[in-house]
Symmetry: C2
Amino acid sequence: MNRIADISPGQFLEEELLRTIPLTRAMQLRVQEFTGVGLELRAPLLPNVNDKGCAFGGSMASLMTLACWGLARLALRERDFEPDIYVQDSQIEYLAPVWGDLAVRALAAPGPTLADFVDMYAQRGKARITLLASIDWDGQTAARMHARFVAKRRQEYTE
Amino acid sequence: MNRIADISPGQFLEEELLRTIPLTRAMQLRVQEFTGVGLELRAPLLPNVNDKGCAFGGSMASLMTLACWGLARLALRERDFEPDIYVQDSQIEYLAPVWGDLAVRALAAPGPTLADFVDMYAQRGKARITLLASIDWDGQTAARMHARFVAKRRQEYTE
């Protein structure tokens, strides 16, 4: 067994995000847990603060987008698929300020499941899914997002 | 004339954002231009890149949110108002990848103008406005956002 196989999916994702997306290092992102149907990310308040001393909306938007992206990434990777994954659109509601460290949870929206999404990708080489993310603070939902993601067979990129 | 009065609104906003929101330093945000009815922000690609080598969706969401926030901030500040300004909700469409430096423009959505927004704040101590932001790349719109912002008289915060 090689060394890559020894790390958990969550550790794999955290290493990948921190290595490939500089802003995740600035946000001090951590992958807390991947359950197969959900993903939780965390980030401390201090590097993600705004002018008012609570969490910056841009950090919350970024972390919710990354939680959904990471969930799609790991669901596909469980069946050895490595497509490109894009966010297509998103709607965010900011409901209350967050005065502490951020915990962000993502899961599939009602409707097609992550398993359906991976099956569709396996059949067609392309698939879409709507995912939900939320940030709780002090016993209530402080922000929530729903967003559509697309997985497509990987292409070679040129500038 | 004191030193504060010598700097342009754009310079004031850039200094404030870079000082109060650490993520703007990580994104290397610059305020390019404030026209009174529009605001343009810029950021280089390198600190805002994703796993595919193009611009990270979280950076685009953050910069579009900041462009709108900054536009509301400067419109109110022109009439010496310094309220708290919050993003309430946002919808983003990601239309095409961006393979270069980011230029983000914000302006008011059709309907109430920035002047209406400031008038309403002057009358009621609270006002709402819908703002639009977009990122162009290679002659087309690569991402666009519309978002609602609220201005409210400043409060003292406690953790």
